[in-house]
């Protein structure tokens, strides 16, 4: 038996034989039910489409203000960058770094690397740096917290609504539209298929 036909479950180390999947199917560990790998219908194409759309929305979400408040004629708006830089200036660089990493840097790394990987693949061309790219993607994945941030913005706006007139910014709508796209992109992105292509080439 060829060793490349085997897969060890990442959660319980149970050794199993790889089986070809029908389109849209998923292979689960026979012992602990962990998701081992999937076969996505038109996976790469869909991921590419979702990610390109998410990139544009990400740019909008970072350039435009998230929200504004108006108190006694004073208007105050803030973008994501304003929020992070204000934390830094106020003497909390560690919180600023945490917020910046989870809402700006990690998501743009994810979007950028997925495009770097999938655009050449779309034209049937496997790029050289595919191994480090997939490894970085795997490492940064838990630190992208767009959807948590979005919920946080909503909670804070509800709180402020009792004190002042709150207006929602363009970036907030961009966030709202981007999150389903990022989720859909992650759902259709199957690194296992790309890894299989890597090993078939080498």
């Amino acid at each position: 038996m060829d060793i490349s036909d085997l897969i060890a479950c990442h959660d319980c180390d149970c050794l199993q034989r790889r089986v070809p999947l029908p389109l849209g199917g998923a292979a689960r560990c026979s012992r602990c039910d962990a998701l081992l790998y999937r076969s996505c219908r038109g996976g790469t194409q869909k991921t590419l489409a979702y990610t390109v759309a998410a990139l544009f929305l990400f740019l909008i979400a970072n350039i435009y203000p998230i929200a504004g408040i108006e108190v006694q004629g004073n208007r105050q708006v803030a973008s994501l960058y304003d929020a992070v830089s204000l934390l830094w200036e106020e003497g909390h660089p560690e919180v600023a770094v945490l917020v910046g990493l989870t809402t700006m840097i990690t998501p743009i790394i994810q979007i950028g690397l997925v495009l770097f990987l999938l655009v050449p693949l779309h034209f049937n061309h496997l790029i050289q740096g595919v191994v480090p790219v997939l490894r970085i993607l795997e490492t940064v994945r838990p630190w992208s917290m767009m959807e948590v941030f979005f919920l946080g913005v909503l909670v804070s706006l509800f709180k402020l609504e009792q004190l002042a007139r709150v207006e929602m910014g363009i970036a907030l709508w961009a966030f709202a539209a981007m999150i389903p796209l990022l989720v859909a992109g992650a759902m259709t992105f199957e690194p296992d298929e790309i890894w299989e292509q890597v090993s078939s080439l080498s």
């Binding site: 149970c14 945490l98 191994v131 402020l160 002042a164 890894w195």
Partner: protein, 219 residues
């Protein structure tokens, strides 16, 4: 063997946690690399138990200031007020936003506490070589990995409040030390769940089996 399962480690195979390729390994932990992606391979995550404990204990220590110290200072012309996480939730509750209070309670109080408790339980159960509910414990681990990120909610709430209510004649809001402690707890528990190796939950079963196998061979 009762259900015909073998672990990769029993056969001298190491599964790569990055690309999931199985590599045969004879040299031991130190030099093993994945044959496909070149990642460092380990039979199990190195020093998983002690590293998880170290991160958890630090998390517990910071959990106290995270909940006792104010996460936010609000100052206006006439009054100033400091809010802890809990007092913020109470404020939301008494002002009638019950569902909002519920969301913040789950994300900021329940999730961090549940994460610390579940990870502690998992580490202790592995140390005591427990055989109870392996599948259930593996699922608990997956829940911890899934919910961990949501406790960042309060940090983001404070961030936006600070950004919007600055330089106002009405009020100023600034970040409290509690938020720093709270953010650190979230990061520490995320690292703790990454360091914990769920395969340890199943390892005892594998050892028992291989012992049984050896005995059968001798008799």
């Amino acid at each position: 063997m009762t259900d015909g399962t073998m672990t990769a480690a029993q056969l001298g195979f190491y599964g790569c946690l990055i690309c999931h390729r199985v590599t045969e390994c004879t040299t031991g932990d130190i030099t093993a690399r994945c044959s496909r992606c070149g990642a460092l391979l380990h039979r199990r995550k190195p020093n998983s138990i002690s590293r998880t404990w170290a991160l958890l204990l630090t998390g517990y220590m910071l959990y106290i200031p995270a909940n006792v110290l104010p996460v936010m200072h609000t100052g206006s012309l006439f009054t100033s007020q400091s809010d802890t996480i809990m007092s913020g939730i109470v404020y939301l509750w008494t002002s009638g936003s019950w569902y909002l209070a519920g969301i913040v309670f789950i994300a900021s109080i329940f999730v961090p506490a549940a994460k610390l408790a579940i990870l502690t339980f998992l580490v202790i159960s592995v140390q005591r070589r427990s055989t109870w509910g392996r599948l259930d414990r593996t699922k608990m681990y997956r829940v911890v990995e899934f919910i961990g990120r949501w406790s960042m909610l309060d940090i983001f709430v404070v961030t936006i409040l600070v950004a919007l209510v600055r330089l106002q004649s009405l009020a100023t809001i600034s970040v409290g030390l509690g938020a720093v402690a709270f953010g650190t707890v979230v990061v520490l528990t995320m690292f703790a769940s990454m360091q914990f190796d769920p395969r340890l939950i199943w390892d005892l079963q594998a050892e028992e089996r291989s012992l049984q196998g050896n005995n059968d061979g001798h008799s």
